[in-house]
């Protein structure tokens, strides 16, 4: 009875969690196990939580503009902890022009405002290891 486990977290100081909660619920409704860790986490807290929970996916939400710093930091820390098969995805207020840079840094997909939650579910189902 293998299940896909997903960590939903908001790094940094952004407190706008409505989007993250909506995504968390949609992921649960799609049959995933969602570890929802809320707001104001450090990249280290996110990576360590991902390790302890042995998640398949880390889903980061950020609306404050710090994504270029914080998202790659999470990817880096996951690798350092030996979590090499984790899919890292992101969402929030992220300009299109930042997306290639994020992908180069290891964030596999970015889902910006207006994305249907079904699209996120589909992506995870198709690409999770």
């Amino acid at each position: 009875m293998a299940k896909v486990r997903i960590l939903v977290a908001k790094p940094g100081l952004d407190g706008h969690d409505r989007g993250a909660k909506v995504v968390a619920r949609a992921l649960r409704d799609a049959g995933f196990e969602v570890i929802y860790t809320g707001i104001r986490l450090t990249p280290e807290q996110i990576a360590e939580s991902a390790l302890q929970e042995d998640v398949n996916v880390v889903a980061l939400s950020l609306l404050s503009g710090a994504h270029n710093t914080l998202f790659p930091k999470v990817v880096e820390l996951l690798k350092a902890k030996g979590m090499t098969d984790v899919m890292v995805i992101g969402g929030g207020v992220i300009p299109e022009s930042d997306i290639p840079g994020l992908k180069a840094a290891g964030i596999e997909a970015v889902f910006t405002p207006g994305t249907a939650t079904t699209e996120i579910v589909k992506y995870i189902n198709e690409h999770v290891k």
Binding site: A2, K3, A24, I35, Q52, E53
Partner: protein, 312 residues
């Protein structure tokens, strides 16, 4: 990485991977459990149960911190319900324990019930064993807190704590549900709310009606977990219960009975699966059902037949 070796050697990554292996029934799961089993039996297991909203996760967070002050390492298994509709789950206990992440002496794993009606399962027990073999001094299992799971927790824990809060509508409800009967200690959380005295008296009354466990009188503590109040007394009460169990030899008895229940449950589970796969899933079985519906045969003969075949 040899996962079992890693667990015994204190690797957090190995412990995490091992729990995943048993939860998802990987091929190497049984082998891992075989290797680590001889190294279990050292950790002290505390079960925390109670109705939703009682503050179990917050309390667990504070208890873990107090244990760390007393130089103990702590493993936590936090259980939340799987949705019967989607098969998914929101595991939201970790959010109350974020301070613990930086502490290397603490490991928190969230687990979903995954359709196990009792709320706990063999897999919870296996996760506890892994944390035990890893070297945790204390393991806290925090459960869903509805229905059957309260009774299940006593099969996993050395000390069972029931957490209640005042003013949850009808306080007598809790007594009716029977959950109060399994507590080795009681914690009234959110003790700054109205109705604390009343609840305390009701629990005391219930305990007096229960004549069986006269040797150990469950203490009732009050906490305001969110304000870190009353935590030390709870940890002290757990220690007293442990001392009682150890001095009277009860601990050995309790653990033996637990091992027995577990083996029986595992055997039953295996047989159950065998029946599901080899009998229920067959076309022959579907036809048998039709025959039964047409009264061409009866359930008793059918069962006799199946059982005789299985036991051969």
């Amino acid at each position: 990485m040899d996962i079992a070796e890693g667990v015994l050697g204190g690797s957090r990554l190995a412990l995490s991977k091992a729990i995943t292996a048993i939860e998802n029934e990987h091929e190497d799961a049984v082998e891992i459990m075989r290797k680590i089993y001889p190294h279990t039996g050292n950790a002290y297991v505390i079960g925390i149960t109670g109705p939703p909203g009682a503050g179990k996760s917050t309390l667990t967070d504070k208890l873990a911190k107090e244990y760390r002050k007393r130089n103990k390492t702590v493993g936590i298994v936090a259980i939340d319900p799987t949705s019967p509709y989607s098969g998914g789950a929101i595991l939201g206990d970790r959010i109350r324990m974020l301070d613990l992440i930086a502490d290397e002496g603490i490991f928190v794993r969230s687990m979903a019930t995954r359709g196990n009606l009792g709320g706990l399962s063999q897999k919870t027990g296996d996760a506890v064993k892994l944390m035990d073999a890893y070297g945790m001094d204390i393991i806290i299992v925090e459960t869903v807190g509805v229905g059957q799971s309260e009774v299940d927790i006593i099969k996993t824990a050395d000390t069972t704590m029931v957490v209640v809060v005042p003013g949850l509508g009808d306080d007598i409800q809790a007594i009716k549900a029977g959950i109060l009967e399994i507590g080795d200690l009681f914690t009234i959380n959110k003790a700054d709310r109205e109705g604390v005295e009343k609840l305390n008296i009701e629990i005391e009354m219930m305990l007096e009606l229960n004549q069986e466990d006269v040797a150990w009188r469950p203490p009732i503590n009050r906490t305001i977990a969110s304000k870190d109040e009353g935590i030390e007394a709870v940890v002290d009460s757990i220690a007293e219960h442990r001392k009682y169990l150890e001095e009277t030899g009860e601990l050995e008895k309790v653990r033996q009975s637990r091992i027995k229940s577990e083996v029986i449950a595992m055997v039953n589970d295996h047989i159950s699966r065998h029946i599901d796969e080899k009998i229920v899933a067959t076309d022959g079985f579907a036809q048998t059902i039709l025959k039964l519906q047409n009264r061409e045969t009866d359930p008793y003969s059918v069962v006799d037949n199946i059982v005789n075949n299985v036991l051969k």
